[in-house]
Amino acid sequence: MVDLVLAKDLTVGYQGRPQWSGANFQVLHGEFAAVIGPNGSGKSTLLKALTGQVGLISGELRIDGLDVGEGRRKIGYVPQRRNLDQDTVITSREFALLPHRARRLINRSKSERAASEALVEESLRSLGIADLADRSISTLSGGQLQRVYIAQALSQQPELLLLDEPLSNLDIRASAQLAKSVSELVRGRKVGVMLVAHDLNPLLPYLDKVLFVANGRVVCGYPDEVLTTERLSDLFELSVEVVRDSSGRIAIMGDFSEAHHA
């Protein structure tokens, strides 16, 4: 089977200036990968490279064997920020239907409309928010809103789900619940996930792979293999300490910013 995401010697950045370079990684169908690293290291850039919003400077990036332009059709994307506020009055159902309706300008057949609506209903239900379908998204809590965003992405039946910091505004309990829901949903559907996070701990029970982005580099591997003091210190050529407590929670310590600017 072809890798879901395959990067070979990949360099990505803005206006010809690399944000990170020489990246080699792969994500398989159905794998749950966390993308972690310090602020400004280029985690979101990685997701935007996959959706074609950031240009590749060199190297190769393929999605299910296709180049980014074609492959991005297989992606469900939940960006870090959305330009929404209290005055954004649209129901959760209508919001989730937006990308479906935009696929055809006019005259979608009755069966097409029904199929889209059924997919959206099913996604809302599977994320436990069917009762919020008729509520305006401006009235939802952060956790509920993230579930609406993920339902929108999943309803498009993606093969790859890109989630940019979906846990950042949630408390510990809500983070754990959302991580569990996403994991259960994607496992059942064989959907690959790349999830950007600052705190790896809510994801640990579900993770297959970690992409660590720092100092202009991307390191990919299995959590136990990558997240060790020796490996990260060696890779980034600075003093990094990976600490695990008795329950398996991880903390990664090291001043990546100084090394990056040095």
Binding site: V78, L98, L105
Partner: protein, 294 residues
Amino acid sequence: MLNNQVLLAANSTSSFSFNIIYDLLVMLRYPFMRNAFIAGSAVAILAGAVGYFIVSRRSSFAAHALSHVGFAGAAGAVVVGLTPLEGLLGFTTVGAIVMGALGKRGELRDSQIGIVLSFMLGLGVLFISLYQGYASEAYSILFGQILGISNASVIFTVGSAVVLLVVMRLALNLLLFASFDEEVANSQGVPTRLISYAFLVVVAVTVAVAVQIIGVLLIFSLLVTPAAAAIRMSGRPRIAILASTTIALLITWIGLFVGFYQPYPVSFFITAFGFAFYLLTRLKPFADRFVVQS
């Protein structure tokens, strides 16, 4: 002033009878009232639909600024012997293109827009002072001249409204996606920048035709008030757009009707009924709570 004189002359021969059908028929006997109804209806439908996106995209200030740009254009056109509509269209369209060129969501750049807005208003004042004709021209641009619309303007207004509404219907799904979820639309290859640009041009033409009806200073009453009220009524975009156009139509019709039988400006009635609709939608949640409690 000329329009008010026309209206007063009409009023002197017609008074309100409380038989609505009869009163309507009397009113529509006058060609200027027929023109006002046709152009007013076309502008109301267009402004109601475009207004929904202005409010949803939080571009109200940009629309307001375009109307002030149009003021300078209309006043300048009168000075050089063109019609105010020609000046309005020219200036608002160029204004929209410049605003679009400001970059991503250029319409959101409040301070830059505010600076251009005040300069354009100043320019308009200069043009008005240079104009040797009647002060009524300036009054019309600022407060609308719905009762003085020529046949040619009616044809242009209806034609523009039909073309823009067809374009918006064709692009409706993309426009909704780009307006509510720009980041995801962008990631799926939707040309959000181009849509933003095109939308500003649609707003520019809408402002130009709406200024004839309601004037530069009162344009919000057709472009923003009905949409803001409609958005509070439904979270389903298609229903909210329908509600917005219906409210805009109703306040225009009622405003014209009441204005015909009263000695006060039609623009005032349109703004007043729009405000009343908006207040009603604001009061609805309180009313619902009261009903539930009692």
